[in-house]
């Protein structure tokens, strides 16, 4: 009897310690973000005086200022456009290619697939230098379309890999049935394979959306005009221009971070799946 109580209390003690550790780490994760949001609602003087997490008065006008005069509205819109366009492009192009690599027979298919996979493994840290030169030659630098095409390329390899792995495991019977009904190859891809691959498409969409929204280096070298810049680069420009206006900068950061956090909270199932799948595959 004494033994049972001993073990039980030991277990409770261990669990409490574990929770203490986990909660302190969780607070460390959240604190900077809450501090950022809280500071975005304070006035410039209050930022230096008031260190409580909940501001005494909520200055929502900081957001309106950042959105209009800080110019973040424009950049927010750009980020949305780039993310949607790139993700749409990647989904279409990579699922078509992945379908071909998985289902269709043609000369060179293996070679091409290996080439895409090699690109996934080889790091080329200086490639943005050559990309800059290339875009200049094509007159695509400082244009949204140049940026969108570059970003589609960035996401292609991994997406093709994920989709091909999925198509390989997918039973062929449904496609056979559709083929007998006279469905064309394009139709098979678009009407049969694509709808069936929804679970993996979700992973592809979420990961590429995060990557495009958070992308920095290509946007930095491609865009000169602030009117084309996505949020990440515009934040840097803003910081350069208004070094001391912290509430506005924090409002800008919140505008940049909040969509990602919201998407993450809704799609976390797919994100966790993607990370762990990638790990097991690797």
């Amino acid at each position: 009897m004494k033994n049972a109580i001993y073990y039980k209390s030991k277990k409770i003690a261990v669990n409490t310690l574990i929770h203490l550790l986990l909660i302190s780490v969780a607070i460390t994760c959240l604190y900077p973000l809450l501090w950022m949001i809280s500071s975005s609602l304070k006035s410039q003087e209050m930022i230096f005086k008031d260190i409580s997490l909940i501001p005494h008065q909520f200055r929502l006008e900081n957001y309106i200022l950042a959105w209009k005069e800080g110019g973040f509205g424009r950049n927010f819109f750009n980020s949305i456009i780039y993310t949607v366009a790139v993700v749409f492009g990647i989904v279409m192009i990579s699922s078509m290619a992945a379908y071909a690599f998985s289902r269709l027979r043609f000369f060179g298919s293996k070679f091409l697939f290996i080439m895409f996979m090699a690109a996934m493994m080889i790091p080329i840290p200086g490639s943005f230098v050559a990309l800059y030169v290339l875009l200049n030659k094509l007159h695509l630098r400082n244009t949204p379309i140049g940026y969108i095409l570059c970003m589609i390329n960035v996401g292609l390899s991994t997406s093709i890999f994920l989709l091909k792995t999925f198509f390989d495991k997918m039973p062929k019977e449904l496609e056979d049935a559709a083929r007998i009904d006279g469905c064309s190859k394009i139709g098979l891809w678009f009407h049969v394979a694509l709808p069936l691959s929804k679970p993996v498409l979700a992973v592809v969409v979420v990961f590429n959306a995060l990557a495009v929204w958070n992308e920095y280096i290509l946007a930095l070298i491609i865009f000169d005009n602030r009117q084309f810049m996505p949020l990440q680069v515009a934040l840097q420009t803003f910081q350069g221009e208004f070094v001391t206006n912290y509430p506005l900068l924090m409002a800008g950061l919140t505008i940049t971070a909040l969509p990602i956090i919201i998407v993450y909270l809704f799609m976390q199932k797919y994100i966790i799946k993607g990370v762990t799948q990638g790990a097991i595959v690797g």
Binding site: I18, K49, M96, A97, L104, K185, I221, I260
Partner: protein
């Protein structure tokens, strides 16, 4: 009919191959070509210097190797501190425990944020603004006035500060992979060990650790590749495009390109850095094969 059929197959891969060829293959080849030239990026003539750029990197470029050292230092901290923390947390979560999912969701928030947001938010917290510097305020409040200082502009603490913020951003990602790995270990193994009278520490050492080695190697390789190439976080945390004494290789490449307009030299630096990364990952991989 046959030909039309085959052509149709190529249509499927055409868009992907076209974009890939233009935006990956061509720049890839150009990096190697440009690395052999001295070129400012604008003029029509490039001066062929052979391996001169590489010679300069290896023999003269002190800043480059300084930057390599900085990145290695951050990577070392990420490999040890960040990954051990991630593993401990994953191990703590790999049991019947309440709020497991809550922790998992929270720990992965920093990794989904952009490096710009993380860098600027942390800069605001630890930079030398009187009221907003929470860390310094806490130190002063605890009577440790001497320790309160400007963490990011003091060369002694700047790099470690950068490394810690990097760990804050990255540990959740290692945590997720470790947790997934731990959950693939069959529970029966632990049961059997307990029945045989093994202590918690023994079953951790004899079951958990050996089975987790492949996952650890994977996380280690990805940590090295990711951390060595870190730079956006540093730009937004330390400020200034080339970040002075916390410079890292990618920033040096950017500096050669945008700062001193030496496109060829920037490419040579990129090739050197890429080779170093490939060699390190290969050694890690071989090392793990030997260990098993």
């Amino acid at each position: 009919m046959k030909i039309k059929d085959t052509l149709e197959n190529y249509v499927f891969v055409l868009p992907a191959v076209a974009i890939f060829s233009i935006f990956y293959v061509i720049p890839f080849i150009w990096v190697f070509q440009l690395g052999l030239f001295e070129w400012d990026g604008i003029s029509f003539t490039k001066v062929f210097v052979g391996l001169g750029n590489f010679k300069e990197i290896f023999l003269q470029d002190v800043n480059w190797w300084r930057a390599m050292w900085n990145a290695s230092y951050i990577t070392l901290i990420a490999l040890t501190f960040q990954n051990i923390l991630a593993f401990m947390l994953a191990w703590a979560c790999d049991r019947e425990i309440k709020m497991k999912n809550f922790y998992r969701v929270i720990f992965f928030i920093p990794p989904v944020l952009s490096e710009v947001v993380v860098g600027m938010a942390w800069r605001f917290i630890i930079n030398d603004i009187d009221g907003a510097n929470i860390i310094n305020r806490t130190l002063i409040g605890m009577g440790l006035t001497n320790f309160a200082h400007n963490w990011l502009s003091d060369p002694k603490t700047a790099l470690t500060t950068v490394a810690i913020v990097h760990c804050w951003k990255g540990f959740g990602w290692g945590f997720l992979i470790f947790l997934a790995g731990l959950q693939t270990i069959p529970r029966e193994l632990y049961e059997a060990a307990r029945v045989d009278g093994a202590s918690a520490w023994q079953s951790f050492r004899k079951i958990t650790l050996p089975l987790m080695i492949p996952v650890m190697v994977l996380v280690a390789i990805l940590t090295v590749l990711g951390t060595m190439q870190v730079f956006v976080l540093i730009v937004s945390l330390v400020g200034g495009e080339f970040a002075g004494h916390t410079s890292v290789p990618v920033l040096r490449i950017l500096a050669s390109m945008r700062g001193s307009s030496r496109f060829g030299y920037a490419c040579a630096q990129g090739i050197t850095f890429g080779m170093i990364l490939i060699i390190i990952s290969f050694i890690q991989y071989r090392f793990s094969k030997k260990g098993q």
